[in-house]
Each structure stands twice: as structure tokens, then as C-alpha cells.
């Protein structure tokens, strides 16, 4: 447990400068956009006279220099204050935290499904490299890997929602259903089936291919030969020796693909009209809401750091060698 704690502390310290680069970079990028928050606000209320513009610029702090505002933004960020959204007229953190759970459910379920099914199929393929099962699964996964997830989502909704009517076409739950507790959870799960499937298929292929490659590699190692020479049953070799050794890189991949899955959820949430974090990003773009977009990028970076930290801790618990050389001071 001490190793995990030291690892956490070191990781958190080293992520501070990285996060600072993200904040400054995003701020300067959005600064380059034509127009500012006052323009966007005036557009939404239908215009105003120059005196109003002047007073709004002053109250937003937009009459100050870029660097003064960057300093203000960063120091407010330390107090977890991301500013006000132009589109929603509410604190950005509040809006984001409201939307985040839907996306976390979507991503969490997609990760669980792709990791579970992907590694299981990978074991089936890697149990006998070169066999018919292996060939079929390898080619199938390559084809799956090439499918654009948003298109897959549309196809799913045509087939399973419009034609077969098994699942709802859009939304996160039945509107105004008044459901509570377990029946509400089931309702949300029912709405999430298609988006989760569309989002997870590409990662399922990724985990399958990694597992298969890792197992093919492990078969060539001496310990596999030793296990066979001992006369162990093939099932036992596959599960206890080969698959186990191929599993660790998959855990690393779990953290690496977090950022890409968060990006993928933007399009999937737009296809299935799920009011989540990704759809919020699209709404911020559509509403030219620079403060909200900055907040979204900063929060997504924090999210990716947290996921990677969790993966690192899991890795340290699985592999005792990790972090053992950490200075204990």
C-alpha cells in the first residue's frame, strides 16, 4: 500500500506542470478566436449600445491584457472556479459536473465490455496461434477496428431502434417517466445499450489484437516450453501461464485509451442525443462559448490524469516489481 501511495504522490506532483501547459495552451488558443464572450452574449440577447458593451467588457475583465486575464483565470482555477458559461449563464464547473456522470457511465460500461470481451476473445485466438479460430478472430477484429464508431452508432440505431424497436433511439432515460431507484437504473441501462456497443467495438478489437499478440509472444518464451515439458494440460498452460503474462500490457492500454475514448464519446453522445460531457463540448463549439470550451478541455485533462493514476495503482498492485525501487523518503 505504501508503494501505491508513493506512486500517487510522485504522479500528482509531476502532473502539475503538464496541467499548467494545458491551461495556458488552451487559453491562448481560444484567445485567438475572433470575437469574445461579450460578443457572444450580445448575440444571445439581441445586441446593445456601446455603453453596455463597455460596462460588460469591464465586468468580464476583458478590458485587461491577455496575460492579466490568463493570471486571473489560472488563479481562479486553483480555487476550482472555472468561470461562467456564456451559453448557460451558470458556473462552468456546475454544468460540467451535471453532465459528467452520464459520460462516465457510458465510458465505464464501454471500457468494461471492450476489456472483458476483448481479452476473452483474445485468449480464444491466442490459445492456438495460426489456428482457424485465430485467423477468423484476427481478420474480424481488423475489420471491426476500421469501423467509424459514429457510423456504427447510426447503423445500430437504424437496425435495432428504428426497424426492430428493441431499444430507444436517443436520450439517457425516458423523459418524465417518474421512475425511481432500480427501475430508473434499468431504464438508463436500457438507453445505454446501443451507445455503449457503438463506442466499445473499436476498443474491443484493440484489446483482442493486443491480447492475441501478447500470447503469441509468450508461447515463444522458455517458460511456455518448460510448462509443456512438465506435461501440464494445455488449458492450464493457456490460462495460468500464457494469458496471465499477456494481460499486463492490456492494463497499461486501459489508461492510454482513456483520452481517445473521451474524444470518441463526443460523437457517440451526439448520435444518441445523450446529455453528457461530450455533447457539452459540441454545444460549447456551436454556441461559441470559449470559457466553457476551456473548462471542458481542462476537466478532460484532469480526468485522463486521474484514470491513468488509477491504472498505475492497479498495475502496481498486480505487478509487485512496479515502484519497488521507489525512494521511500
Amino acid at each position: 500500500m505504501k508503494r501505491a501511495f508513493l506512486l500517487t504522490r510522485r504522479r500528482l506532483l509531476s502532473s502539475i506542470p503538464v496541467l499548467l501547459i494545458v491551461v495556458v495552451g488552451t487559453f491562448l488558443l481560444l484567445e485567438a478566436a475572433p470575437g469574445d464572450a461579450v460578443d457572444a452574449y450580445l448575440l444571445s440577447i439581441g445586441g446593445g449600445d456601446p455603453a453596455l458593451v463597455q460596462s460588460l467588457r469591464e465586468s468580464y475583465g476583458l478590458d485587461q491584457s491577455v496575460f492579466a486575464r490568463l493570471w486571473l483565470y489560472t488563479s481562479a482555477l486553483v480555487r476550482l472556479d472555472l468561470g461562467l458559461s456564456v451559453v448557460f449563464g451558470r458556473p462552468i464547473l456546475e454544468v460540467i459536473l451535471e453532465r459528467l456522470p452520464n459520460t462516465l457511465w457510458l465510458m465505464g460500461s464501454a471500457t468494461a465490455l471492450s476489456f472483458g470481451l476483448g481479452s476473452a476473445l483474445g485468449i480464444a485466438a491466442g490459445a492456438r496461434p495460426g489456428s482457424a479460430t485465430d485467423r477468423a478472430l484476427s481478420i474480424g477484429s481488423l475489420a471491426l477496428y476500421a469501423v467509424p464508431s459514429f457510423w456504427l452508432g447510426l447503423v445500430f440505431s437504424v437496425v435495432f431502434a428504428v426497424q426492430l424497436r428493441w431499444f430507444p433511439t436517443a436520450g439517457i432515460e425516458t423523459i418524465a417517466s417518474g421512475k425511481e431507484g432500480l427501475s430508473r437504473a434499468l431504464d438508463i441501462a436500457w438507453h445505454l445499450v446501443l451507445p455503449v456497443a457503438a463506442l466499445s467495438f473499436i476498443y474491443l478489437a484493440l484489446f483482442l489484437r493486443m491480447m492475441r499478440a501478447g500470447m503469441a509472444e509468450a508461447w515463444r518464451q522458455d517458460f511456455a516450453l518448460a510448462a509443456r515439458a512438465k506435461g501440464l494440460a494445455r488449458r492450464r498452460i493457456v490460462h495460468r501461464h500464457i494469458a496471465r503474462n499477456a494481460l499486463l500490457p492490456l492494463v497499461t492500454m486501459l489508461g492510454l485509451q482513456a483520452a481517445s475514448m473521451l474524444g470518441g464519446s463526443v460523437v457517440i453522445e451526439s448520435v444518441f442525443a445523450i446529455p453528457g460531457f461530450g455533447r457539452l463540448a459540441q454545444e460549447a463549439v456551436a454556441g461559441r462559448d470559449a470559457p466553457l470550451l476551456t473548462g471542458i478541455i481542462v476537466v478532460s485533462a484532469v480526468l485522463v490524469i486521474v484514470v491513468n493514476l488509477l491504472v498505475d495503482i492497479a498495475y502496481a498492485l498486480l505487478d509487485l516489481r512496479v515502484g519497488a525501487a521507489e525512494p521511500s523518503a
Binding site: 502532473s15 506542470p17 503538464v18 496541467l19 501547459i21 494545458v22 495552451g25 488552451t26 488558443l29 481560444l30 485567438a32 478566436a33 481488423l142 475489420a143 477496428y145 476500421a146 469501423v147 467509424p148 459514429f150 457510423w151 447510426l154 447503423v155 440505431s157 437504424v158 428504428v162 483520452a259 481517445s260 473521451l262 474524444g263 470518441g264 463526443v266 460523437v267 451526439s270 463540448a281 459540441q282 463549439v285 461559441r288 470550451l293 471542458i296 478541455i297 478532460s300 485533462a301 485522463v304 490524469i305 491513468n308
Partner: protein, 276 residues
């Protein structure tokens, strides 16, 4: 040349190469096959596929020829995919070489920047970039490259760190070459091959990101792309699903072709190494 023949002999490589050659020819000769503007109206709206021999894939919501749009869309997809990969590889290998060669504080600072780009989802970054600068093909290329250069940068740096310690670099230093000259003419060319191996993955993901961006409406409205065709077809998804399904299949075949070619290439190269 030997690698090329071995590539042709592996089924993956041969199929991938054939698919991509066909696509490249389609993209290059799009103006010859369909000389008129693919966005012009040529027939009645929502004509189903295979019903009119002069419009084999039917028409969309506005009566535009789907096949012509598809052929012209190949151009945008391939051009953006390849251009984004080239930009990402150039930026990545230059920064990676610089970091690995300079070492010390410069290395540390550059690698933190790489970290920063890696923890921001590439798609969100592209979305923000395109929405700020405005949607046109060069901006989309740059936006995609911004999220893709970190992989090549890390790999190039690792390669450079190992090459830097070799004897021929020491020899170059002894004969009085300047550090920048050594970095660009001795180290970079030798660090490049493993970095180039990443290119197929970057091309494939760039094509997919471009499609997703245009699906969300962030692409040049005057250029037909497969992503914008899917988005356009989505409006009539219930009555004419083929309008969204057909360009999606084209996207899938393209990306699959890139992956097959890279599998075949990796196979051919590793067999050469095994024999050597």
C-alpha cells in the same frame, strides 16, 4: 524491391495495396470520372440506389448524385489522412530529435509539452482548434496533426537517445560538425525508419477523425467529404438509411485497406530481418 515482392505475396499486403491503389486512382481521376460539380443537382431527390442506370447509387435529399459525391469524397479523405500524417510525422520527428539530442532542460521542457498534448483527447483538441480558426481543409489537417505528433515525437526521441551514443556520431563530432548539423544529417535519418512505421496507424486514425469532424459539421461546406455525407444522410435516416450507410462502408474499406497494407508491410519487413 525484395520487400515489395514479399508484400505482394502476403494476402493482407496484396489486398491492402490493391484497395489503396484503386482508391488513389479514384481520388486522382475524380474530375475525369465525374467532371461536373458533385454538389450540383442532377435528378429527383431521394432516388433509391440501383433504380436508374445513369445514377447507380441514387440521389440524396437534394437530388445530388451519390456516386459522384462518393468519388469526390475519396479525394478529401485520402488527402486529409495523408497530409495530416505527413505533418504529424515531420513535427514529431523534428521535436523528438531535438529533445533527444539537446537533452537536459530542453528535453525536459519539450517532453512536458508532449505530455500535455497527450492528456488532452485528440478529438477535443481538433474540435476546439477547428472551431476557433474556422473550417477549411488545411485547418482540419493541422488540427488532426496537433493530436497525432506526440507518438512520433516519443519514438524519435527514444531512437535518438540510443543513436546518440554510437561511434559514428562521436566521429562526426570529432571532425568538427556543428551539433545541429549532426542532429539533422547523421541522427535524424537513422532514427526515422521506426517512426515511419507509425505512419499507417496515423493515416487511418486521421481519416476517421476527419470523418467525425465533418460529421459534426466542422469541415469546409464546399468540399464533399464522407463524414458530411453521413451527416447529411442522417436527416433522412428513417426513410433513406442507404445515404448514411454507403459513405460509411467506403470509409471502412479505406481504413481497412490502410491496416491491411501495414500488416503486410510489417510482415514482409520482419521476415527480411529474420532472414538477415
Amino acid at each position: 524491391m525484395n520487400v515489395f515482392f514479399r508484400l505482394l505475396r502476403s494476402p493482407e499486403g496484396a489486398i491492402g495495396l490493391a484497395v489503396l491503389c484503386l482508391l488513389a486512382l479514384t481520388a486522382i481521376f475524380a474530375d475525369v470520372i465525374f467532371p461536373h460539380d458533385p454538389l450540383s443537382i442532377v435528378g429527383p431527390a431521394l432516388l433509391p440506389p440501383f433504380s436508374d442506370p445513369s445514377l447507380p447509387l441514387g440521389t440524396d435529399r437534394l437530388g445530388r448524385d451519390v456516386l459522384a459525391e462518393l468519388v469526390h469524397g475519396a479525394r478529401a479523405s485520402l488527402a486529409v489522412g495523408i497530409a495530416a500524417a505527413v505533418v504529424a510525422l515531420v513535427i514529431g520527428s523534428l521535436i523528438g530529435t531535438l529533445a533527444g539530442f539537446a537533452g537536459g532542460l530542453i528535453d525536459e521542457a519539450l517532453m512536458r509539452v508532449v505530455d500535455a498534448f497527450q492528456i488532452v483527447p485528440a478529438f477535443l483538441l481538433a474540435l476546439a482548434f477547428v472551431s476557433v480558426i474556422g473550417a477549411s481543409l488545411p485547418v482540419v489537417v493541422l488540427a488532426i496533426a496537433l493530436g497525432a505528433w506526440t507518438g512520433p515525437a516519443r519514438l524519435a526521441r527514444a531512437e535518438v537517445l540510443s543513436i546518440r551514443a554510437r561511434d559514428y556520431v562521436a566521429a562526426a563530432r570529432v571532425i568538427g560538425m556543428r551539433p545541429l548539423e549532426i542532429a539533422l544529417s547523421e541522427v535524424l535519418p537513422n532514427a526515422l525508419p521506426p517512426v515511419l512505421a507509425l505512419s499507417s496507424v496515423i493515416v487511418a486514425s486521421s481519416i476517421l477523425i476527419e470523418a467525425a469532424l465533418s460529421f459534426l459539421g466542422l469541415s469546409d461546406p464546399n468540399v464533399v467529404t464522407w463524414g458530411s455525407m453521413i451527416a447529411e444522410g442522417r436527416n433522412v435516416l428513417r426513410s433513406a438509411p442507404f445515404l448514411s450507410i454507403v459513405p460509411g462502408i467506403a470509409l471502412m474499406i479505406t481504413v481497412l485497406g490502410v491496416y491491411l497494407l501495414s500488416e503486410g508491410l510489417a510482415d514482409a519487413l520482419s521476415r527480411r530481418r529474420a532472414r538477415a
